[in-house]
Amino acid sequence: MSDDADELAQLSRELPRIDLDDASAQRIAHRARVAVGRRRSLTRFGEPALIILFEVSVLMWVLVKVVQVLR
């Protein structure tokens, strides 16, 4: 490693260790574990698409209202 990398590595050892609480870690592990080897489910595709659709609709509505007020 370069001097910069060595020095940063040495300095970084002083940083506090960050970890998840056990309950959150178990929840995350459980959710992902059941998906091992499975294809991405339709819900995982559909959920973000629905959220985006909702956000875009709200933004469009806001824009229309702003334009109406400005006229």
Partner: protein, 193 residues
């Protein structure tokens, strides 16, 4: 994310994941959860977001388990996914901020400690945590991946999709900026340089 020099543990985990074994997944989760979470917290500066992105990272691992190559370097693979998720999250944040009419940021500097800073039990540690947080994102990311995670500049280049030279350059700049930010808490060698 493939290489001839793969850690034997990682190779065994990869084989297990390709066979759909949940024990292999558990081993990978136990080995990388803290490292990935620390990286995500320090990149997003939010524990709730870091938790979501950690979950998404492991969901992607689970869903791609059967497509992993036998010689996949899991650390590089996982950090690549985490990096991409951070980039997407930061982009979404920027768009939201712009749509909100460039309102002033809520996180104006104040004397209170953030939850991350609350973990620090000395002034030097606090200065270091704040120093890392104050680095520009591109420099912070390289400093975290090389400094804390101990990844090689070539691996970091692969994760970030940039050249190894660019990684070394960012590393040198991160070190120089950190020296200035740390002031009296900087290592003695940095202060005399």
């Amino acid at each position: 994310m493939r290489s001839a020099a793969v850690d034997p543990d990682e190779r065994a985990w990869c084989d297990g994941l390709r066979r759909g074994e949940t024990t292999a997944f558990d081993a990978v989760f136990a080995a990388y959860r803290r490292r990935l979470y620390g990286y995500l917290v320090r990149m997003t500066r939010r524990r709730d977001v870091a938790e979501d992105l950690l979950q998404e990272t492991f969901m992607r691992l689970a869903e791609h388990a059967k497509q992993l190559a036998a010689d996949t370097r899991l650390s590089a693979w996982l950090f690549t996914i985490a990096h991409r998720l951070v980039v997407s999250w930061a982009r979404a944040q920027a768009v939201r901020a712009q749509l909100a009419g460039d309102l002033p940021r809520r996180d104006v500097p104040n004397s209170d400690r953030s939850p991350l800073e609350a973990l620090c039990d000395s002034q030097a540690q606090l200065a270091l945590e704040r120093g890392f947080a104050a680095l520009p994102e591109a420099y912070r990311e390289v400093a975290l991946l090389v400094g804390i995670e101990g990844l090689q500049p070539a691996e970091v280049a692969e994760i970030l999709g940039i050249r190894a030279d660019a990684v070394r350059q960012r590393l040198a700049r991160a070190r120089a900026q950190l020296a200035g930010l740390l002031g009296e808490h900087a290592p003695a060698a940095w202060r005399t340089a």
